[in-house]
């Protein structure tokens, strides 16, 4: 290896000329410091790189640089049939694959005009709400550990493990579930599912009390979070923030309430709102959301209807395996579905669901062939992260960590 290849490049102020427009003139003159935070930094929750312009400890500007996890999922889906794209949606927001599945299958169901059996809709709600709890637990644990509260992290992951066990029971997978299918579910709930969920729900509310008790009135926690990273309601709407990050700024908007989907209008629950718009407000909203999710799951379990778990429409849903032995019709459907797929009419739909992070939207554009012309995902983390420069103007560099944690980004969701 030639020796000179490993010499450190000396960066001079002249090299910064191409940064003009991104950073202030003071940085170009060398008055302020430019610092890279990430992409390999434990507090950026994934591979997020931030270019910080610092004046002492104050952040003058913060320029997020994303794309390290870009895997071209939207491009890959264009080369798959509608059914075979479902596993790819798991891998975007890997902390809430159920919500991703739901947004995508609902979009295709709308395109195909498929009715989903009530039982499947209830199971979808139960699993999405368990997913919301597990996602919020990861958020709470990592957010707390960013701000040096070690024990909360361990408690949160302990409880999340129980939810992942339930997912494994249902779907055979702990994280990449791919359990929702177009028209319903992959299979019916296994025996013992309801008992497992009830056992979890039985003790989980007291666990939430414990996490809240550890943090809510903790002076260290309050000093680090209250009044930090404030977003006004107008700014949050203008920047497209959604989910608890929006509701922490006092905007009462939750897609589960505003445009109920998948039987959410059958259940009673509240949408926690906080007016302050700071890190603490977003923390409070998410913790209360976990309690509301418990309420929804309890109601859905109590009313869980019997019946089919997937639609009888054989144009989108495969026939039961045993039918293949005696029904020619079923065999043809099976063969057509797993080779060619189905063909929706030309057109486009946009469906959005309330994922743990906010509005997860799915835009599907069909050209009438078995493969979509275009599938686009409106990722909640992507929009929430784009508001980060706004939130971090003039904060201390230590508060930056608190703010990143509070908007609960998943970089797989940002980059897709």
């Amino acid at each position: 290896m030639p020796e000179n290849e490993y010499q450190l490049m000396e960066l001079t102020v002249d090299d910064l000329k191409e940064m003009k427009g991104l950073v202030s003139q003071r940085a170009l003159d060398g008055d302020t410091v430019l610092l890279n935070m990430g992409p390999q930094h434990p507090s950026t929750h994934g591979v997020l790189r931030l270019l910080l312009e610092l004046d002492g400890e104050l952040v003058i500007s913060c320029i997020p640089d994303v794309g390290y996890l870009h895997t071209g999922i939207e491009k890959s889906i264009e080369d798959k049939t509608y059914t075979k794209a479902i596993p790819l949606t798991d891998r975007m927001d890997y902390l809430s694959p159920m919500s991703n599945n739901l947004g995508y299958v609902m979009a295709v169901e709308k395109l195909m005009e498929v009715d989903v059996p009530l039982r499947a809709q209830y199971v979808r709600v139960i699993l999405c709400e368990l997913q919301r709890i597990s996602s919020h637990l990861v958020w709470l644990g990592t957010h707390a550990i960013d701000l040096a509260a070690m024990s909360v992290f361990l408690y949160c992951f302990r409880e999340r493990e129980k939810i992942l066990d339930i997912f494994e029971m249902v779907a055979g997978q702990r994280m990449m579930v791919s359990y929702f299918r177009i028209g319903g579910l992959w299979r019916d709930l296994p025996a013992g599912f309801e008992d497992a969920v009830r056992a979890f729900l039985g003790h989980f509310p007291s666990e939430v009390d414990e996490y809240e008790g550890l943090l809510k009135n903790n002076p260290l926690w309050i000093n680090r979070t209250q009044g930090v990273g404030v977003v006004t309601a107008e700014d949050a709407i203008a920047w497209g923030m959604t989910g608890p990050s929006l509701r922490g700024s006092g905007v009462n908007w939750d897609i589960r309430k505003a445009q109920p989907y998948s039987a959410y209008d059958h259940f009673e629950f509240d949408v926690p709102i906080s007016e302050a718009g700071d890190v603490y407000a977003r923390f409070w909203c998410r913790v209360q959301e976990m309690r509301q999710s418990v309420r929804i799951v309890e109601q859905a379990l109590a009313k869980l209807p019997k019946g089919p778990f997937i639609t009888g429409n054989r144009k989108v849903a495969p026939p039961p395996k045993e039918e293949l032995a005696y029904s020619m019709e079923s065999l043809i459907h099976h063969f057509k579905l797993w080779t060619e797929g189905f063909t929706p009419p030309p057109g486009e739909v946009y469906v959005s669901v309330e994922s743990p992070r906010g509005e997860f939207g799915c835009y599907v554009n069909s050209d009438g062939s078995p493969k979509p012309r275009r599938v686009h995902f409106r990722a909640p983390s992507f929009a929430n992260l784009s508001a980060l420069p706004l939130m971090t103007k003039g904060v201390f560099i230590a508060d930056l960590v608190a703010i990143i944690g509070s908007i609960d980004i998943v970089l797989g969701d940002v980059d897709r």
């Binding site: 994303v66 794309g67 264009e78 923030m241 057109g347 275009r374």
Partner: protein
């Protein structure tokens, strides 16, 4: 409900609406590209519409049809709880449309994404850099003529050789 919005746009900006598409209960207004900012400002500020929230901006490539590209804006009104999609169709030769970042600042990253992956320029955008792909990447991967293929890994010793036969979607 959607009719009032269409009438509103047609009365205020008579030439702006090229077509109205109703599909699966969703309304799409196909808007003349030069009017997109005016339509967005109207829809955001008019008390009868009040689409205060921009959910998403995405683009689709209708290759080989012309006009080749479509940019979709998903609007949402929190006050009236309704959605609307605006669409502009752009030709395949150096597609460009005015940026709506001055109407909704949140459009910033969405438009950068469309530029990066689909190669549609947004004039007046404050910071139109690539967002996902590397800065020195050639072409726009989400175009339909950009190949979805195995990519040979380039090392220093064979970089130029592979570069020559690499199937990029050239600009």
């Amino acid at each position: 409900m959607a009719d009032t919005i269409i009438d509103l746009v047609k009365s205020k900006l008579p030439d702006a609406v090229q077509a109205v598409i109703e599909f699966r209960g969703e309304t799409t207004l196909v808007v003349r590209p030069v009017d997109i900012v005016a339509v967005c400002v109207l829809l955001r500020d008019d008390p009868a519409a009040h689409f205060n929230f921009l959910s998403d901006v995405s683009a689709a490539d209708h290759y080989p049809d012309e006009p080749r590209f479509a940019v979709n804006y998903q609007l949402y009104s929190m006050e009236y709880n309704r959605r609307l999609r605006l669409k502009v169709r752009l030709g395949g030769d150096a597609p460009a449309v005015s940026s709506v970042t001055r109407v909704w600042p949140g459009a910033n990253w969405h438009e950068r994404e469309v530029w990066d992956l689909m190669g549609i320029r947004f004039t007046g955008h404050p910071d139109l850099r690539r967002i996902f792909m590397p800065e020195d990447y050639l072409g726009h991967p989400l175009r339909r003529d950009a190949p979805l293929v195995y990519e040979e890994p380039q090392f220093t010793h064979n970089f130029a050789e592979i570069e020559k036969r690499k199937p990029y979607a050239r600009e």
